[in-house]
């Protein structure tokens, strides 16, 4: 557990970067510091590993004041990931990952072997291990950065805008992989970002900061969307709050059975089972939905080229937002729900989901 106790940082030029910050970062969870550029996120983060010492107030890790600890040994026990990865260009990927274990005196062979395992764990091909960092893509470098921060198995991981410099698709993969990793590892993670969507995705709790280093609100993502503390937070959390909040609510939505046809069947068979319906759902051989067709426009066979693929799929038990989106994006208006293996469970329409939202609200 990390505790900020009225921590204040005033830089030599009198800039007040962080003002009386008091908050608790629970162990084993992801706490996100989010706020506009220059609001004091990085400064706050660096107080945890003593790269910045508070002008007044304290930061405690498991009850011990950080200021009283030796900086180098403190830092070797805290992983740190930054935006540009900051890999050592002169060391191979595997030796980059082994950096802190080597500093701690772990033997080279053992450190290398552990690092290889860790590279796989963060989703990197072991064949990249012997390369130098400048031979990797930005996303790969970030993965190495994460592996390096985890190498000595520190209980705390600090991440300062780690995914801000990669393109949106890679960013989403990196976020997913971090969450997957965290589900296994249960580290105490402090994650800094200026991107509210990233904060809401990653965080167990989110600390919204305002320029001048003030804490504006500390809340779970769902509470932040449904109950912003003030105008600044409401503004910062942004538009579509009502819809986005559904991303954190799940509810029992009963699916309806759906008539289907298998890809490659005859157009005649499709028209027969459709019974005059406008849209018919097409499955592959493993009963996984692949798209919708209009039976009256089919030729001799149901071909892949006939498919309308606009509908999104919702997994069973997914947040209401995913269910509603599946219904809204489906050409038939019926959202497709699948099980963990991707096989069809049934469909829901927007009315079904809205009914559940109303029920949840009055509950």
């Amino acid at each position: 557990m990390i505790v900020f106790d009225r921590a204040t940082v005033v830089y030599p030029d009198q800039t007040v970067a962080v003002d009386q910050l008091s908050l608790t970062v629970p162990a084993g969870q992801v706490t996100v510091f989010v706020g506009p550029s220059g609001c004091g996120k990085t400064t706050s983060l660096r107080m945890i590993n003593k790269m910045i010492v508070p002008t007044s107030g304290r930061v405690l890790i498991d009850g011990v004041d950080v200021a009283k600890q030796d900086a180098a040994s403190l830092r070797r026990g805290i992983g740190y990931v930054i935006q540009q990865a900051g890999l050592f260009p002169l060391r191979s990927v595997v030796d980059n990952v082994a950096t802190v274990p080597l500093l701690l005196g772990v033997g080279r062979r053992r450190a290398r072997a552990d690092s290889m395992a860790l590279l796989e764990r963060v989703g990197l091909d072991p064949s990249l291990a012997r390369r130098y960092p400048n031979q990797l893509s930005g996303g790969q470098q970030q993965r190495v950065g994460v592996a390096r921060a985890l190498a000595a198995d520190p209980p705390i991981l600090l991440m300062d805008e780690p995914f801000s410099a990669v393109d949106p698709i890679v960013r989403q993969q990196l976020q997913d992989d971090l969450l997957r990793l965290q589900a296994d590892l249960g580290k105490t993670i402090v994650f800094v970002t200026h991107d509210i969507d990233e904060a809401l995705r990653i965080g167990d709790q989110v600390a919204v900061m305002r320029t001048g280093g003030h804490l504006a609100q500390l809340a779970s993502p769902a509470d932040l969307l449904s109950d912003p503390a003030d105008e600044f937070v409401a503004e910062f959390v942004g538009r579509d709050r009502g819809y986005r909040a559904l991303g954190f609510v799940s509810g029992e939505v009963v699916t309806r059975p759906e008539t289907t046809i298998t890809l490659g069947s005859s157009g005649e068979a499709a028209r027969r089972v459709a019974h005059g319906a406008d849209w018919l759902l097409v499955l592959d051989a493993d009963r996984r939905p692949v798209g919708w067709v209009r039976p009256d426009r089919l030729g001799a066979k149901v071909n892949a080229s006939d498919l309308n693929r606009s509908g999104t799929l919702a997994h069973d038990g997914a947040p209401l937002r995913a269910l509603l989106d599946a219904a809204l994006s489906s050409p038939s208006g019926r959202g497709v729900v699948v099980d963990a293996a991707g096989a069809l469970l049934g469909t829901v329409n927007a009315g079904d989901v809205v009914a559940v939202i109303e029920r949840e609200r009055s509950a």
Binding site: R75, Y80, L103, L158
Partner: protein, 213 residues
């Protein structure tokens, strides 16, 4: 010229060795001195300007003046080759202090930051991360210093310290071309060899640049 060279080959060879020694040894000592000075200039921005201004001023002192002044300061004989070594070392330091400081400044901020955040002490960071990354810049400065040393050492022939430059003074006194040509070519070859050695050593010291995609 070729006839003259064949007649005098052993002497040319020994002059070349002396020349190599007089310009090469200061290169090594100069680098050893410039590293800590350049590091100080890099660490202390206020000192940086002073150090670099001093080094620049030193470089403007004509070599002949330095060759004549040094015996007075060091209390050595005017013909003592030590004077040349000291003078060339001073020039090398003057050139390299700035280079070392620039090389350290060129280390990317995020790399330095990552090293600090992982608990590297100041020394480990300098030796393990910053200096190796500064090698390409330092090496470029060293190449300039090497060529410059080879040419400046020749001037010492004017005060009687014998090396390849002596062939030039000799040729001018006798108004005889072959020793001038041989001396010039030997100087150029020597400078090229220094350059090659530095380039090869740099490549060996920076494998990560060679394998860059």
């Amino acid at each position: 010229m070729i006839g003259w060279f064949l007649d005098n080959a052993p002497r040319v060879w020994s002059l070349t060795l002396t020349h190599a020694w007089l310009s090469g040894v200061p290169l090594v000592i100069g680098l050893a001195i410039a590293l800590p000075l350049g590091w100080m200039a890099h660490r202390l921005p206020r000192l940086r300007l002073t150090i670099i201004a001093l080094a620049g001023a030193l470089y403007t002192v004509p070599s002949l003046v330095l060759f004549i002044l040094l015996p007075l300061i060091l209390g050595t004989q005017i013909l003592d080759p030590i004077n040349v070594v000291v003078a060339m070392t001073l020039y090398t330091v003057a050139l390299l202090v700035r280079t070392v400081s620039d090389g350290l400044a060129a280390v990317p901020d995020e790399v330095r930051l990552a090293a600090v955040a992982m608990g590297f002490g100041r020394w480990r960071r300098l030796v393990g991360v910053e200096l190796p990354l500064a090698v390409p810049v330092i090496s470029a400065g060293l190449r300039v210093a090497a060529v410059s040393n080879v040419s400046i050492v020749s001037v010492a022939a004017l005060i009687g310290v014998v090396q390849l430059g002596s062939l030039l003074t000799e040729g001018f006194q006798l108004l005889y071309l072959p020793p001038i040509l041989v001396g010039t070519i030997a100087c150029i070859l020597l400078a090229l060899i220094f350059d090659l050695v530095i380039v090869v050593l740099t490549r060996l010291a920076t494998p990560w640049l060679r394998r860059a995609a």
